[in-house]
Symmetry: C2
Subunit: 220 residues, 2 copies
Amino acid sequence: MTDGARIRVALADDQELMRQALGIMLEDPPDLELVAQAADGAELLERLRAHRADVVVMDVRMPRMDGIEATRRVRAEHPGTRVLVLTTFDLDEVVFAAIRAGASGFLTKDASAEELAAAIRAVHAGDATLAPRATASLIDFVARAPTAADAETLLAALTARERDVLAELVVGASNDEIAERLYLTGNTVKTHVKAILAKLGLPDRVHVVIWAYEHGLVVR
Amino acid sequence: MTDGARIRVALADDQELMRQALGIMLEDPPDLELVAQAADGAELLERLRAHRADVVVMDVRMPRMDGIEATRRVRAEHPGTRVLVLTTFDLDEVVFAAIRAGASGFLTKDASAEELAAAIRAVHAGDATLAPRATASLIDFVARAPTAADAETLLAALTARERDVLAELVVGASNDEIAERLYLTGNTVKTHVKAILAKLGLPDRVHVVIWAYEHGLVVR
DNA sequence: GCGCGCCTCACCCGATCGGGTGAGATGCGA
DNA sequence: TCGCATCTCACCCGATCGGGTGAGGCGCGC
């Protein structure tokens, strides 16, 4: 479906039984191929050096090196290898930590063979799969993130030049720096800054920065 | 599984054929009950007043009132009703817009009856389901968001009192305001501020605010 | 007991900032 | 053509800020 070749899968789980169960799950699908197994993160990294994998199915809780750290290392050493994290419970902290470490997917261990295979294929295709509860957390996170749209009404009150100055203010430029960058005199900059503060109803440039971040004007 | 009673589902899609197809998909599962149908957002809102629904399965593209706006209204008028958004393509903008409007889930129209039912159950249970591509977008978004952990090394260099002052700086407090809130003299505050600037290697309080936001110290 | 880090406060100084006021040039639309 | 908004710049003033230096009190560990 993706590129003709079989998807090379590596397993990392400290429980022998779980590895066996996962291995069996991966036997049927003809497009999947189990190329490596490991009982912890350190072992996994070692195995991956000999057997490149497209997707690593990784348990979070493992001795020596846990799944989060292992995910980070895998992503650093093998940028092309995607990581699908497996856990017993889909706790928020673990999900976020795994995502930040570079995981592409997240599945609970009660997933069926079909779900696992589908998740591996999705992750390999550059998509992603998350356990329902984890998905809910992410959605909540995204929904909370503000949009630039919220500030647009106030922003519309500013003139073009004032918006230029605002952009400089937001990155922490002093009046002199703004003057230099926009080819203006310090006096002119001050005029614009004063206008901005008045129009936005803010007391000083510090609050302009806060306002900008709070309203999502800054992307980070 | 959730509360014994059947999950009341409402459908909103302008394509008659699609509504029929979805309706048929919902016939089999014994825990789902189709209580209302609508061809656009406005009609949906009207129907929901008579027939409360637990989950609304909503198309994005509809005449009169699109799915995004309809989602917003539904969430405003019926906070207990969850929205599962359906589209033909899982475009990023639509996903984010829908999430911001309050949608709990996101599915492409090529989903199977089982996937649809599972998604409805997940959404009703307070969880969520996303199309794989959409999930990937969200994960990317979350992964990009910085963590407080990034700043912890620098933050560790600050003394307890300096962290108190830092917290005030970040919300835009002037030295006098900080002094008042922390029961200090202006001179003491200045001492702390100077120490903070020196330790963080920043030129002024404006950059402290920027630094805090960039490192995710502020939650928003 | 002595040193060391922390918290507290003080004074001085120069730089920067924000507020107030005014004004010339330009361009756009009524 | 006559406003009107915008952009530009100027000067003044008081407030605030950041840097430098010093110092007393307190608690903790060596």
